[in-house]
C-alpha cells in the first residue's frame, strides 16, 4: 500500500486511506490463503475414505432397502416400502432388539463401574509397577475374537465347562449357558466385558490424571472423605469422559456381532434366537437368507435406533455428571 513518508508525521500506515475506490463489491468470504489449501489437502484423505466407505454405502443401502434383491438371481425387483412394513411386524426383529439391549445392559453397566474402580486404583500414586498393570490391562483387548470365543465356549460348556463344574461343586445343577436365554446373555456379556474393561479403565485413568490436585486438597480440607471426594470431585470432572464412554459403549454394544456369531456357531443366535442381536439378524437375513433388501432395511432401522439412543445417552450423561455438584 502506498505510504508516503510525510516529513514530521509518524510512519503509521493506513490501509484504506490512499486505496482506490473499489469498482466491484467486496467479497464476503476472504480468498483462500495458501495455508488453508494445504490444510484441506491434509484433511481430504479422511473425507475421501468416508465418502467411499461411509457415505456411498449408506446411500446405496438405503436404495437397496426398496428392492427385493437375491444375490445370484436376476434383476432386483422394486417393491416400495414392503420391506419396511415387514420389519415393523417382524417378531424376530423385535426379539433381536430386546436381546441386544439385554446384552448391552449386562455388558455396559458392570463394565463401566469396574473400569472406574480399577482406574481409581491405578491412579493411586503409591501403586507399584504402574506400567506393568497398565500394559496387562490391554492384553484382553488385543486377543483375537475367535480365540476368545473358543475359550469362553469351553468355559461355559454344559458337560465339561469349568464354570459348570464349579457350580456343581457348590451343589447346584448345571446351567445351560447356550440354551437358556438369560444365561447366554450373561456369557456373551462376560466375553465383551473381559475384552473392554481394561481399555475403558485406561481411558478413565488418563482423564483422572488430568484432574488438578488442588481440587482434592481443598475437598479434604473441607472434611470430605475418600468416597465423598470421589463422588463430588472425580465424577463431575470426568463428566466429558463418562459421556464419551457411554456413547461409545452404546454404539459398540448395540452392534455386537462377532461374539454371538462365534458363541452359537450359527447365524440365528441359538435355536430359539435367544442371543440373536440386531447385527447378527441383519447378517442372517442378508447373507444366509440372501435377502439383501430386507437386510438393508434392518441396517436403516439400526442406524435410527443407535442415533436415538446416543442422543438419549448424552442427555442422561450430562445429568449424572452435574448431579454431583449439587
Amino acid at each position: 500500500m502506498s505510504t508516503q513518508a510525510v516529513p514530521g508525521k509518524s510512519q503509521i500506515k493506513f490501509k484504506s486511506s490512499n486505496a482506490p475506490i473499489d469498482k466491484k463489491p467486496r467479497k464476503k468470504i476472504a480468498p483462500m490463503r495458501r495455508q488453508d489449501r494445504w490444510g484441506m489437502l491434509f484433511v481430504s484423505p479422511f473425507f475421501i475414505v468416508f465418502l467411499a466407505f461411509g457415505l456411498i454405502p449408506i446411500l446405496f443401502t438405503t436404495y437397496v432397502a426398496f428392492f427385493n434383491w437375491d444375490a445370484l438371481g436376476g434383476a432386483p425387483e422394486y417393491i416400495g416400502f414392503a420391506n419396511f412394513k415387514e420389519l415393523w411386524s417382524d417378531t424376530y426383529f423385535w426379539q433381536a432388539l430386546r436381546n441386544t439391549f439385554s446384552i448391552w445392559f449386562i455388558s455396559t453397566v458392570p463394565q463401566m463401574t469396574l473400569a472406574l474402580g480399577i482406574a481409581t486404583l491405578l491412579a493411586n500414586p503409591n501403586l507399584r509397577a504402574k506400567v506393568f498393570w497398565r500394559t496387562v490391562l490391554l492384553v484382553p483387548n488385543i486377543t483375537s475374537v475367535l480365540a476368545v470365543a473358543i475359550v469362553f465356549q469351553q468355559l461355559f460348556g454344559y458337560d465339561f465347562g469349568m464354570i459348570n463344574l464349579a457350580i456343581t461343586w457348590l451343589g447346584y445343577h448345571h446351567i445351560d449357558w447356550v440354551g437358556n436365554q438369560l444365561a447366554s446373555h450373561i456369557a456373551i456379556a462376560t466375553m465383551i466385558n473381559w475384552r473392554w474393561f481394561g481399555y475403558n479403565s485406561l481411558i478413565f485413568l488418563a482423564s483422572m490424571q488430568a484432574i488438578p490436585r488442588e481440587l482434592y486438597e481443598s475437598a479434604s480440607l473441607d472434611g470430605a472423605n475418600r468416597w465423598q471426594q470421589f463422588r463430588y470431585v472425580t465424577i463431575p470432572q470426568l463428566r466429558n469422559t463418562i459421556i464419551f464412554m457411554m456413547i461409545m459403549g452404546t454404539i459398540g454394544g448395540l452392534q455386537v456381532f462377532a461374539e454371538p456369531l462365534l458363541y452359537g456357531g450359527g447365524m440365528t443366535g441359538g435355536d430359539s434366537r435367544q442371543f440373536s442381536t440386531l447385527t447378527l439378524y441383519l447378517f442372517e437375513q442378508a447373507f444366509f437368507n440372501q435377502r439383501y433388501g430386507y437386510g438393508a432395511v434392518i441396517g436403516i432401522a439400526m442406524t435410527v435406533i443407535i442415533i436415538a439412543i446416543s442422543v438419549l445417552n448424552y442427555l442422561i450423561g450430562r445429568r449424572i455428571a452435574t448431579d454431583g455438584t449439587k
Binding site: 460348556g157 447365524m267 435355536d271
Partner: protein, 425 residues
C-alpha cells in the same frame, strides 16, 4: 558378414524354439476356496512335487462362510480358480450354472470321466440344463461307529453282525438307546438330532422335486424323518427332564464333543465314512475300542462335496488339470486309505484294496465293504436352491424339542412358518 548374420539368426531361432518348447513353463497360482477336510495335505504336496510350476493356495473357512463368500464373489472377477461346494449348498449353485464353467466344454471334456463315478453323486453336480458344474469328491455313505467296551458293559452284543441286528429300523435304534440309557445311566449316542439327516437321506426326495418345486411341507419323508428325530431327542428322559433323549446335549464337532469322545460319555456315533477320521483325530487313545456296524435301513448317506470352476476363474485349464488329477481313481484310493474318505469312483468298489481294507482303529472292521454296501442303493435325491436354509431351520426345531422348549408338533409348525418367512414360499 552375411554368413555371420545368418549364423546369428539361426542361433536365435534355435534358442527361441528351445525356450518355447516346455508347455506349462509359466508359473501358475491356483486359488482354492474350501472348508473342512476336502483337500488333504499329502496329496497337495504330491501334486506340487509333480508340477513344480503350480502353486496351490487354499483358503479354508467354515462351511457357511465358504459358500457365502463364494456367492458374493461370483458376480465379480475376484473368484477362486476352484470352489468346493458341499452337498447342502450344491442345490443352490447348480441352479446358477451361468456362473460356473461347464466342465463338459473343458479339454478333455467331463463326459470322458463321467462313467467312472457313482451315478447319483455325479448327478448332484449337474445343472437342470445338463451342464456339469462340479465333479464329486467323496461320498459319505452311512454306518454306525460304536464302542465295543461300553456295549459289553451294558450287556449288549459286541460282534458287528449281531449289533446290526439290534436296529434294522430307526425305532429299534431308538429303543436300543432307551434301554442303554436305562441300564447304564449314560447317553447312547453323541447327538440324537443327527438321525434326522440320516433318515431323510434314505428317501427318494427331500425338499424339492426334480423339477425344482418345493415340497418340504407335503413330502411325507420329511415329516416322518422329523418325527423320528423328535422321538430320538426326547425318548429315555425322566419325566419333566430334558437331558437330550438318547443323546447328550452337546453338539457335534463342538469342544464338548471331542471331550465326550475321549471320555466315552456316549457309545455310538452315526458315521459317514469321513466321520471315522474325526473320531481318530479327536480320541486317538480309544484306538481298538471301536467297531463299525450297519446303520438302520440298508443304505444311507450324509455329506459329500463337488469341485467346481467359477466362470471368471483366472486359470481354468490349470484348475481343471488339478481337479481331474485329484479326483482320479489312484488319488481317491490314496485318500481313502490315509483319511477314510470314501471314493466316488465306482470301479474302485470291486478293487480288493477297497473291499479288503480293514481299519485297526475300528477293530479291523471291513470299512471298504461296509461303505460300498451303504452307498449303492442311495437314491438320486433332487437338490434345490434353499436346501441349506431348510436344513438349518429343521435342525433348530429339533434342538428346541430336545431342550423341552416346544412339543414336537409345535416345533414342526414353527419350522414351517420360519422356512416360509425365510424363503418366501
Amino acid at each position: 558378414m552375411k554368413r555371420r548374420i545368418a549364423l546369428l539368426i539361426s542361433v536365435m531361432v534355435a534358442l527361441g524354439a528351445g525356450v518355447a518348447a516346455p508347455a506349462n513353463a509359466a508359473p501358475v497360482t491356483l486359488t482354492v476356496w474350501s472348508y473342512g477336510n476336502v483337500f488333504q495335505t499329502k496329496l497337495l504336496n504330491a501334486y506340487k512335487a509333480a508340477n513344480p510350476t503350480v502353486t496351490i493356495k487354499i483358503k479354508k473357512s467354515d462351511m457357511d462362510s465358504n459358500h457365502q463368500n463364494l456367492r458374493n464373489a461370483l458376480r465379480t472377477n475376484s473368484v477362486p480358480d476352484i470352489a468346493a461346494l458341499e452337498v447342502s449348498y450344491i442345490g443352490e449353485f447348480r441352479n446358477y450354472d451361468a456362473y460356473f464353467k461347464d466342465l463338459n466344454t473343458m479339454t478333455p471334456s467331463a463326459s470322458t470321466i463321467k462313467n467312472d463315478f457313482l451315478g447319483w453323486r455325479w448327478s448332484q453336480g449337474v445343472s437342470p440344463a445338463g451342464k456339469v458344474i462340479g465333479i464329486p469328491t467323496d461320498v459319505g455313505g452311512l454306518a454306525v461307529a460304536y464302542r465295543r467296551d461300553l456295549f459289553a458293559a451294558a450287556g449288549l452284543p459286541t460282534n458287528r453282525t449281531d449289533v446290526a441286528k439290534l436296529w434294522p429300523t430307526w425305532s429299534q435304534f431308538i429303543q436300543t438307546g432307551v434301554n442303554y440309557k436305562k441300564d447304564t445311566g449314560k447317553a447312547f449316542i453323541d447327538t440324537a438330532g443327527t438321525v434326522f439327516a440320516a433318515a431323510l437321506n434314505q428317501g427318494t426326495q427331500r425338499y424339492y422335486t426334480s423339477g425344482g418345486s418345493l415340497v418340504y411341507r407335503t413330502n411325507g419323508s420329511v415329516s416322518s424323518a422329523f418325527n423320528v428325530a423328535a422321538q430320538a431327542v426326547t425318548s429315555g428322559n425322566a419325566p419333566g427332564k430334558y437331558d437330550g433323549g438318547i443323546g447328550t446335549k452337546t453338539g457335534q464337532f463342538s469342544s464338548g464333543w471331542g471331550t465326550g469322545l475321549q471320555r466315552g460319555t456316549f457309545a455310538v456315533v452315526l458315521a459317514p465314512a469321513w466321520m471315522l477320521d474325526y473320531i481318530k483325530q479327536q480320541a486317538p487313545r480309544t484306538s481298538g475300542k471301536w467297531d463299525v456296524a450297519k446303520a438302520p435301513g440298508s443304505y444311507g448317506n450324509i455329506g459329500g462335496s463337488q469341485l467346481a470352476i467359477p466362470k471368471n476363474a483366472k486359470n481354468p485349464q490349470a484348475a481343471w488339470d488339478f481337479i481331474r488329477w485329484y479326483l482320479a481313481p489312484a488319488q481317491q484310493l490314496t485318500v481313502f486309505k490315509s483319511y477314510g474318505q470314501f471314493p466316488t469312483i465306482e470301479s474302485l468298489y470291486d478293487n480288493s484294496s477297497v473291499t479288503g481294507y480293514k481299519d485297526s482303529f475300528f477293530n479291523n472292521a471291513p470299512i471298504g465293504s461296509i461303505y460300498v454296501a451303504s452307498v449303492t442303493g442311495v437314491h438320486n435325491i433332487p437338490t434345490g436352491k434353499k436346501d441349506r436354509i431348510i436344513d438349518t431351520t429343521f435342525g433348530q426345531a429339533i434342538s428346541r424339542v430336545m431342550l423341552g422348549k416346544q412339543s414336537s408338533s409345535a416345533a414342526w409348525t414353527q419350522a414351517l412358518a420360519d422356512i416360509k418367512k425365510s424363503i418366501g414360499q
